[in-house]
């Protein structure tokens, strides 16, 4: 840890050229915005793909205007083919999980705010930081390139189960170069995340300013720090998995392909591999990935809730310990994705137990959030609404985990829309609510302008009600045994479920359209928003102790000294009911 007498020099001078300032920037704030921007592009792209899929599911034979322009082969006459549906499904999942849920709450907000919240001038390794974004950006381009090759994007889903993903073009469209691009893209993405995670860890441990002890770190910084530890281990496993997959595909190895497979009448020239090896490697990453998406959102929401409630959480330490417990346990539960995979059935019980146990720290955090509202002076601005919405959807997504954690219920529910409902609610929607809460909360800091609160509230109500209308019925479909990843529902037993699908599709169109309000608000407010007051939310952490937006070195050459914990709300301070972390005021008698 550094102190004020040995300040960490900003290793690089403020850039003047456009390229250095806005493109190949070493400034963590610009890099954070670049990650956020990439996530923003990805989330709208992913959402449009989901619209196309939802349209196709309920109006299967109807032409979609303009779709032919995207792919002649995938949509002859504008009507989506089954394989193109699967291509869109793969791209939707990959974009959302990697380029949205990992990029925005962790790499985006984390890059921008972690250094400021600890009083540092930049990340520990600014060049690594720039490299991590640009590698991620190349990963994005490589993935998107698959739309423009004749074969189209891969059809093997975001999980890319072998041998479907490993054997090449014999297995179907998109599985030649489309799948290669996917594997290269995800491999590159892993490199970017590994560089980023290392940087976050080093920065948090080494660059804290004087007085910023670990217990004085804001809860959002704790969350980013824990997430970077999770990410370092998770992406370190997915990266070699992608390398092995590429080797199977282009170098004739057989890591994931056993002997004797006959695909499209061709006996495959492989032997000795195991499809389960891919599943183990993938889910060893894949389950912690859920927490890579949700832990930063938990941190952001906790941070915002305290500023909105005007009081600290019942115990932030309990939340830290619970988040660490979640991170630790997340590495022991990957097998619950594989209960029915053909692995030894005894192992199902072994994986089931920690899966059920992980609900304990998650429940503790949730109950701390709800319990902390008791006795609060809650301010219902847009960031607070999204934070409260986060708590609600996190509960909804969490309780369905109870079902899937039990191998005996997985026999019925695995592979159905119940699973889709569960992970969309707990990982997708909850994390998106965290991102949106963070956006409304920190936009004034990042741009110097406020977002429009009325538009923000309209956006919240439409989104909050909308996501329940979309994703709660997914669970009902699962109870009825509706299989997922079907491009068309041809089975007799699925016919009575079509009206419910129609309802979901319409809800998805409306909720998606509501996001345009957000986009408008974001762009309009960036240029025409009301100027932001110095500390619009009356928050305590260090990002509010500097100008909006902060100068290149974050604090204009000042050496910040931290005198207080980050959660001094509901106290009698000199300027209201809170005390800034760098305030020279003495510690109040009864703090957190």
């Amino acid at each position: 840890m550094s102190d004020a007498s040995a300040p960490v020099a900003h290793q690089h001078a403020a850039p003047t050229g456009l390229l250095r300032k806005y493109v190949f920037s070493l400034d963590h704030k610009m890099i954070g915005k670049q990650y956020y921007g990439l996530a923003l592009v990805s989330v709208f792209l992913g959402m449009i793909l989901s619209w196309l899929m939802r349209f196709h599911l309920v109006w299967t034979n109807a032409a979609i205007p303009g779709l032919r322009l995207l792919s002649k082969n995938g949509a002859p006459g504008g009507v989506m083919t089954p394989e193109y549906y699967l291509s869109l499904l793969t791209m939707h999942g990959t974009l959302m999980v990697f380029f949205v849920l990992t990029n925005a709450p962790f790499a985006g907000f984390g890059n921008y705010f972690l250094p400021i919240q600890i009083g540092a001038e930049d990340m520990a390794f600014p060049r690594f930081n720039m490299m991590s974004f640009w590698v991620t950006f190349v990963a994005f381009l490589v993935l998107i390139a698959s739309f423009f090759i004749p074969d189209g994007p891969p059809i093997s889903g975001w999980t890319a189960y072998a041998p479907l993903s490993a054997v090449g073009k014999d297995a179907g469209p998109g599985l030649a170069w489309g799948q290669n691009l996917w594997a290269i893209s995800i491999g590159l993405f892993c490199v970017g995340q590994l560089l980023g995670s290392l940087n976050f860890i080093a920065t948090t441990l080494d660059l804290r300013t004087k007085g910023m002890t670990l217990s004085r770190l804001p809860i959002s910084t704790w969350a980013w720090f824990i997430t970077s530890c999770i990410g370092l281990l998770a992406f370190a496993v997915l990266l070699p998995a992608c390398v092995l997959l590429i080797l199977d595909r282009v170098a004739g190895t057989s890591f994931f392909i056993p002997a004797g497979l006959v695909i499209s009448d061709h006996l495959q020239p492989h032997s000795g591999g195991s499809p389960l090896l891919w599943q183990h490697l993938f889910w060893f990453f894949g389950h912690p990935e859920v927490y890579i998406a949700i832990v930063p959102a938990m941190g952001i929401v906790s941070h915002i809730l305290m500023a909105s409630m005007r009081k600290p959480l019942l115990s932030v330490k309990v939340v830290y310990v619970s988040m660490i417990a979640i991170g630790f346990l997340s590495y022991m539960v990957w097998g619950h994705h594989m209960f029915l995979s053909g692995m030894n059935p005894f192992s199902a019980l072994v994986f089931s137990f920690p899966t059920l146990i992980i609900t304990i720290p998650a429940t503790i955090i949730t109950m701390i959030w709800i319990g902390s509202i008791y006795g609060a002076n809650l301010r219902f601005h847009t960031p607070a609404l999204f934070s409260l919405g986060f708590v609600s959807v996190f509960v909804a997504g969490g309780v369905s985990g109870f079902f899937l954690a039990q191998p005996s219920l997985d026999i019925y529910l695995h592979g159905t829309y119940f699973v889709v409902g569960h992970f969309h609610m707990v990982m997708g929607v909850a994390a998106i609510f965290g991102i949106l809460a963070g956006t409304y909360f920190w936009f004034p800091k990042m741009s110097g302008r406020m977002m429009n609160d009325t538009l923000g509230k309209i956006h919240f109500w439409l989104t909050f009600i909308g996501v329940y209308c979309i994703f709660m019925p997914f669970h009902f479909l699962g109870f009825a045994g509706n299989v997922r990843r079907y491009s068309t529902f041809v089975d007799d037993y699925l016919q009575p479920l079509l009206p419910l699908h129609k309802f979901i599709s319409i809800a998805a169109f409306v909720t998606g359209a509501a996001q345009l309000i957000f986009l408008y608000n974001l762009i309009y407010s960036r240029f025409k928003g009301a100027p932001a007051p110095e500390n619009p939310w009356e928050a305590t952490s260090l990002e509010w102790s500097t100008t909006s937006p902060p100068p290149f070195d974050n604090f204009g050459g000042r050496h910040i000294v931290v005198n207080h914990g980050p959660n001094e709300y509901g106290v009698d301070g000199a300027h209201g009911d809170f005390i800034m972390q760098d305030s020279p005021e003495p510690e109040p008698a009864a703090g957190d």
């Binding site: 699967l86 189960y161 591999g273 053909g342 019980l349 059920l356 709800i370 592979g415 109870f479």
Partner: protein, 265 residues
């Protein structure tokens, strides 16, 4: 704003609970000997999770309605008992639920996966491929002939890669496109994938199991009700995944014997 949020949370909680309580969309009638255990476990989990969901939403609704900012400088207060009470309550509530569900849930799993198939079970081999299921019965000799992947020839309907010219056991094997079984008779499936991963799912049977290329996976069950049911694939297997299906036909023993006789002719 707090009251509005409370009302919306209330509507969400009730709106989600009604279709569940009314079983508007629910599991079809169980037709297996083990399914009642899964159904019981499902109902218990539904009750516990449902109560947890509704209770959490209602408490959240209550608190946001009660503790909005009054702008009168009210001093913030804390939940009686504080974090300690919350932690104890969470561990007690969830811990009990976890233990109860975990312990009672193992029976159904054990019935399907730990128990061996009955010795008199009817062995049937099922092969999954892009995009269909084929079923093989051993024939009068009670033996399955060996598989030769290089002999697979869809054009000549040699789906399994049998070599009856050289393998005596293969000559009487019966291949069918539907899974036809006698009612109340234990069935022992040997699951084999020809190309990529697939899955075998029959809702009514409360059975779902992946096919894994390179592994032959055993699965057993007993169907208790005569009828025709859909077998679908639940593991993404390629462009025709949505259309990969077959029928399970559960017949009386006499009808089954007659069917088998017809097939072997």
């Amino acid at each position: 704003m707090g009251k509005l949020l409370a009302v919306v949370l209330l509507v969400i909680a009730i709106g989600s609970a009604i279709p569940i309580l009314m079983h508007t969309w629910w599991m079809p009638e169980d037709i297996s000997s083990h399914g009642y255990m899964i159904d019981k476990q499902m109902s218990e989990t539904m009750a516990e999770s449902g109560i947890a969901f509704v209770a959490a939403q209602l408490v959240l609704a209550g608190f946001v309605a009660m503790f909005g900012d009054k702008k009168n400088g009210r001093k913030a207060t804390h939940l009686p008992g504080g974090a300690k009470a919350v932690v104890i309550a969470a561990i007690a509530l969830v811990g009990t639920e976890v233990l109860a569900l975990g312990v009672f849930g193992k029976d159904a799993w054990a019935e399907v996966y730990f128990k061996k198939a009955a010795t008199d079970a009817l062995p049937i081999q099922v092969q999954a491929e892009q995009f269909g299921f084929y079923f093989r019965y051993a024939g009068p000799d009670g033996k399955f002939g060996p598989l030769h992947p290089d002999k697979i020839d869809e054009g000549n309907q040699n789906f399994f890669g049998l070599d009856p010219a050289n393998d005596v056991e293969s000559r009487d094997d019966i291949i069918a496109a539907s899974l036809v079984i006698p009612v109340n008779k234990p069935i022992s499936l040997m699951m084999h994938a020809k190309d990529v991963g697939h899955s075998f799912y029959v809702r009514e049977l409360r059975i779902q199991q992946d096919f894994v290329p390179g592994l032959d996976i055993p699965m057993h069950f007993t169907a208790t009700k005569v009828g025709k049911y859909e077998i679908v694939c639940t593991q993404l297997c390629g462009l025709g995944h949505y259309n990969m299906r077959a029928y399970l036909e559960v017949k009386s023993q006499e009808d089954f014997d007659q069917w088998l006789k017809q097939q072997s002719q």
